[in-house]
Symmetry: C2
Subunit: 136 residues, 2 copies
Amino acid sequence: MNENINNKLNAKSIKPTAMRQLVLHVLAEQKSAVSMQELEQKFEKADKVTLYRTLKTFEEKKLIHSIDDGTGSIKYALCRESCQCRPEDLHVHFYCTECKQTYCLNDIPIPSVNLPVHFTLENINMVVKGICANCI
Amino acid sequence: MNENINNKLNAKSIKPTAMRQLVLHVLAEQKSAVSMQELEQKFEKADKVTLYRTLKTFEEKKLIHSIDDGTGSIKYALCRESCQCRPEDLHVHFYCTECKQTYCLNDIPIPSVNLPVHFTLENINMVVKGICANCI
DNA sequence: AAGTTGATGCAATTGAGTTGCAAAGTTGTT
DNA sequence: AACAACTTTGCAACTCAATTGCATCAACTT
Ligand SMILES: [Mn+2]
Ligand SMILES: [Mn+2]
Ligand SMILES: [Zn+2]
Ligand SMILES: [Zn+2]
């Protein structure tokens, strides 16, 4: 388990400090994306700034991706192994208005859009809101 | 011009106060979506809370829609006549990373997504980031 | 005119995110 | 081991958009 965590950190050339191991460990066991605040509460004692910078580092190194689901707080979730965070790696996200959870729909790629002429694409954010399967 | 503004307000059963007429007038002449702050600066003297509440009212009455483009400030744009803000009325939005403008791509409907079983759809937000035609 | 309702203006608060800076930890060199 | 150079962490303070409270003002109603 710890070896696995360290491997993941090393693979993305992130120095495996105690804090980073802990954060990655917690992130890995989430079923849905989490906010900084939620993450903070999962630790006995955690400074939110350290958490903030840890997440920034993880995101820069493409270990996690952030999701702006429109709720006012950014959510974070682990990237898949193969993910390079390129437009073709992007997937749809789902925000359940019942349980307030944000899910990565990893298997649903963002459909392509025909932009007007001379518009070039860098990135797409697609968040579907509704009721998830658990809340029906 | 003023009759037109009042007609639009009446059509959505919004009492046409001076403030609301002004705000709608300014909104109508925008080529791209605007934030509350940008709107505030377009008036000599405008209280941002009144503006805030005006926009809330307009949005509730479906005269305008808000766009969370991921920049940290919500943008607002007029709805089209026919718009009921139902999922089928939704369109793609485009944020230009060069000119920092957010555009309604009114003619580009949001492509449909095949959600996993038992997920029900209420709403979709799709924001494409890139470079707009003016900034190429 | 008095009463009721809704709209507006100003001050203050919220809350997520961010920055500054010093202390603590790490790594490499003499 | 001692030192310097660099990175990471923790605490306090700050930013900035959004929001709330409350008093005042305007527009109808009886
Ligand atoms: Mn995701
Ligand atoms: Mn729009
Ligand atoms: Zn749910
Ligand atoms: Zn542009």
